[in-house]
């Protein structure tokens, strides 16, 4: 039986922990309380005496392959980017929602739609607590969802995690309050690794994953760290003073929007260094296990590319479209709006997979050649 000890050995030590928080979430939810998240966002033993060595934290780690086959089967996963039912480009019909989100505001619009139609009781999102900080948060009102929109969805290329030392993990940890608040129908907005961890929990039917009724995944090219060092580095590349930065968005490039309104762009290759270490090993760009995946890539400014992946996701999108919560990009404006968006997502996905493969190869233990 492999336990958290093995997670530390096999995942954390080689630097492969995405800090999605799945292991801690489950351990906390079921009230074992053996694990916790340390101040750097890393899952650690909080009280090793409480660990009953059930091994479930190990099984549900997105980096562990044990449940991959079942997870793929449940999602009807297929090459190359998981199941795709529909690709389209949409935006929130409500201009107020669009105003607080840089891309089309599709995630916020769909969450609100589900809320207004009384399909969900809450949504696990992240709300801003500072200019580049966010905190996981269980939103249970319309207002709280809108409040979470801004910065979080601003950056809809995936890395929602602009923060100083605050890292990805804890969106999932917020599950704990799902149980405490007695909510049974919750939407999860998360990165590909978080969605995957959740799907693994669902394979085993573990609490609290049964309460998550719908998963919105975000396109993700890797999480960035925004410590003082990284801020300085970005400022140097862009040739600006960090204090002049108003907000940041990530699409095909990293966009730094200054307080003056001026936009500086940085090529993605140049920010590899500030990407979180484990993210270099991840091969999921398009949130392949979500019900619906979202991102700015492939869409015009002010629009969101959306991929529905499950019948549930398709139904949500269709319902939102027919009730005009969202509006679809017009084919008259671009005859290939959907096919080109899909192509761009495929390309970005292939690039991320290739990089991950390359990085993983370097992890393999190599034999030493001795010249005689």
């Amino acid at each position: 039986m492999k336990t958290f000890f093995n997670l530390v050995q096999e995942v954390q030590k080689p630097g492969l922990c995405y800090r999605c928080g799945g292991c801690v979430t489950f351990c906390t939810a079921i009230n074992y309380g053996a694990l916790e998240i340390d101040q750097n966002g890393k899952p650690v033993y909080g009280d090793i005496e409480k660990c009953i060595e059930c091994g479930l934290c190990y099984s549900i780690c997105p980096e562990i392959k044990d449940l991959d086959e079942e997870t793929k089967r449940n999602a009807a996963w297929s090459e190359p980017i998981g199941r795709v039912i529909e690709t389209t480009v949409v935006r929130a019909s409500d201009s107020l929602v669009r105003d607080c989100a840089t891309d089309g505001g599709a995630v916020t619009a769909l969450l609100l739609h589900l809320f207004d139609r009384n399909r969900i009781d809450g949504a696990i999102v992240a709300r801003p607590v500072g200019r580049f900080q966010r905190q996981p948060f269980l939103a249970t009102t319309r207002e709280e969802i809108i409040e979470s929109a801004g910065l979080f969805f601003d950056t809809s290329h995936g890395m929602k995690r602009f923060s100083d030392q605050y890292v990805t993990f804890s969106t999932i940890e917020e599950f704990g309050s799902v149980i405490k608040k007695g909510l049974s129908r919750v939407a999860l907005v998360g990165t590909p690794c978080q969605i995957k961890s959740l799907r693994k929990m669902q394979v085993l039917n573990l609490i609290p994953s049964d309460a998550i009724k719908v998963c919105f995944g975000l396109f993700c090219s890797g999480n960035l760290t925004f410590g003082v060092k990284e801020q300085q580095k970005l400022a140097d590349i862009a040739g600006i003073e960090w204090d002049d930065v108003s907000r940041i968005n990530l699409r095909d490039k990293l966009m730094i929007i200054l307080k003056t309104g001026e936009v500086k762009t940085i090529e993605l290759d140049q920010i590899e260094e500030i990407k979180r270490y484990a993210c270099h090993y991840c091969s999921d760009f398009s949130a392949e296990f979500a019900d619906i995946s979202f991102g700015g890539i492939g869409a015009d400014e002010g629009w969101t590319t959306v991929i529905t992946r499950t019948p549930l996701g398709r139904a949500i999108l269709a319902d939102a479209r027919s009730r005009r919560s969202i509006e679809q990009y017009k084919i008259e404006d671009n005859a290939e709006f959907a096919s080109s968006a899909l192509q761009k997502v495929r390309r970005a996905s292939a690039a991320k997979k290739k990089k991950a493969r390359y990085k993983r190869r370097s992890l393999q233990v190599k034999s030493v050649q001795v010249k005689v």
């Binding site: 084919i331 959907a338 096919s339």
Partner: protein, 447 residues
């Protein structure tokens, strides 16, 4: 949008449904006795709860002041005279929706069949009578009266045209009477008679799939109006003619084209009349699905990625509810999703074995009850409109004709389309002259 004169409440008034049925002195139990003597378990007539599940799901309820429950009760009560003069039996399409939902398994279409067979000969719908007798005159079984020579000429003529004008099909072969072919394909005879070029898409599919198939010079017509006429002897006669040529050629499978009723007529006929045979009867839809899975038909739905044109499907009653059930309905959906994209397929509700008949079956297209038939189909049009689809896939000729007529009559923009048309479209082999039933949105796609 919908002609108010044809709404149901008006029809109720017109047809006098609300008039009470009077039990006259002349009640006799001739029909009841007949039914009980010929149907297994006496047709279960005495088991009727009068629950009304049959009538509530019957699109023919209310036509001619009749509905299935009333029909059963009237037979039970011995109202023979009223039953034998109600033209409702010719408006019913024998779609079996009523049996499907009947808790006591009362086979109402079978009652209709028996009453039709006892109908005075001179009062039977002339169209059906004519089609049946014409089919019997010819070894081809064609109700349109196409004989073997004409048939062979038409096929070769169209095939020549394709070979000369269409790129990639220079070697298209349309085999005729090929001994030992695996598949014997039948053909609805309206096409060669009225629009021969419409046969081309299916041939291209057979060609691209590399199928070992053949047409027959006789027994090829995929119609059996004698069954609709309840002329058992003639029905048997047609099935025997078809079975003979298939056996003579040594084919393993009678591959039923996109047609509903002959699929049922042949299967049921072989069984009822105990006709010895070694071949199996299969629907071409099953083969489309198989060929796609095997990669022999290279289809994809990329053409619809941006257009997002929506499709729904009409499950032919004879093929699904009365044939292979939900299995074939699922195969049908598999094929459609492959060619139009899963996102662009919208199901009607209810669907599959529980689907409503469009009103074009049971010989209804060949009766003079046009007004009733269009009213019958109102239900179907509403169902399709609900889906927001522009196209309705109709893998049955009667469904196709009926939905085209309904769409025109109710002035809605719904187009029926054969499965072979969109299959060819998705493979990029649909010719310009084969797009007659498509709208402007698809006139030039993958041309």
């Amino acid at each position: 949008m919908i002609d108010p004169d044809l709404s149901r409440s008006d029809s109720v008034k017109d047809h006098g449904v609300q008039m009470p049925v009077e039990l006259g002195k002349e009640s006799s139990n001739m029909i009841k006795d007949l039914v009980m003597s010929v149907l297994p378990d006496g047709g279960n007539l005495n088991l009727c709860f009068t629950c009304g599940a049959c009538s509530s799901g019957c699109p023919a309820s209310g036509l001619a002041g009749m509905d299935p429950r009333k029909f059963v009760r009237m037979i039970s009560l011995g109202l023979d005279k009223e039953i034998m003069t109600s033209e409702w039996v010719w408006m019913c399409t024998t779609c079996d929706r009523c049996v499907h939902v009947c808790p006591m398994d009362i086979d109402i279409p079978q009652l209709v069949f028996i009453i039709r067979s006892n109908w005075p000969e001179d009062k039977r719908p002339k169209g059906i009578v004519e089609f049946c007798s014409t089919a019997l005159k010819n070894k081809t079984c064609s109700p349109m009266g196409i004989n073997a020579e004409d048939w062979q000429f038409i096929v070769e003529d169209v095939a020549d045209d394709i070979r000369e004008t269409q790129q990639g099909f220079e070697k298209l072969n349309v085999p005729m009477d090929k001994k030992g072919a695996m598949l014997f394909l039948n053909q609805n005879s309206k096409m060669p008679a009225e629009a021969p070029a419409k046969m081309a898409p299916l041939w291209k599919i057979m060609h691209l799939a590399g199928a070992d198939w053949t047409y027959g010079s006789t027994g090829w017509a995929a119609e059996n109006y004698c069954m609709f006429l309840s002329d058992t002897g003639a029905w048997e006669n047609l099935v025997r003619t078809k079975a003979k040529i298939i056996e003579d050629l040594g084919c393993k499978v009678l591959l039923n084209t996109e047609c509903g009723h002959d699929f049922f007529a042949v299967r049921k006929g072989l069984e009822n009349f105990k006709i010895p045979h070694t071949f199996k009867v299969k629907s071409i839809i099953e083969y489309y699905a198989k060929w796609i899975r095997q990669g022999r038909l290279k289809v994809n739905s990329d053409w619809n990625l941006d257009l997002k044109i929506k499709f729904t499907v009409q499950d032919p009653c004879q093929l699904v509810r009365k044939g292979y059930g939900d299995f074939i309905a699922d195969e049908l959906r598999f094929v459609i999703k492959q060619v139009v994209g899963e996102e662009n397929f919208v199901d009607m509700y209810p669907n599959r074995s529980n689907n409503y008949c469009c009103g074009g079956g049971g010989g209804a297209m060949e009766t003079d009850f046009n007004r009733e038939r269009l009213q019958y189909g109102k239900n179907k049009i509403d169902q399709i409109l609900e889906t927001d689809a522009t196209y309705c896939v109709t893998p049955c000729n009667n469904c196709h004709s009926q939905i085209r007529e309904l769409s025109h009559h109710y002035n809605v923009k719904i187009k029926p389309v054969h499965l072979w048309t969109i299959l060819c479209l998705a493979m990029g082999v649909l010719g310009e002259n084969e797009r007659e039933c498509l709208g402007d949105d698809l006139k030039r796609v993958r041309l």
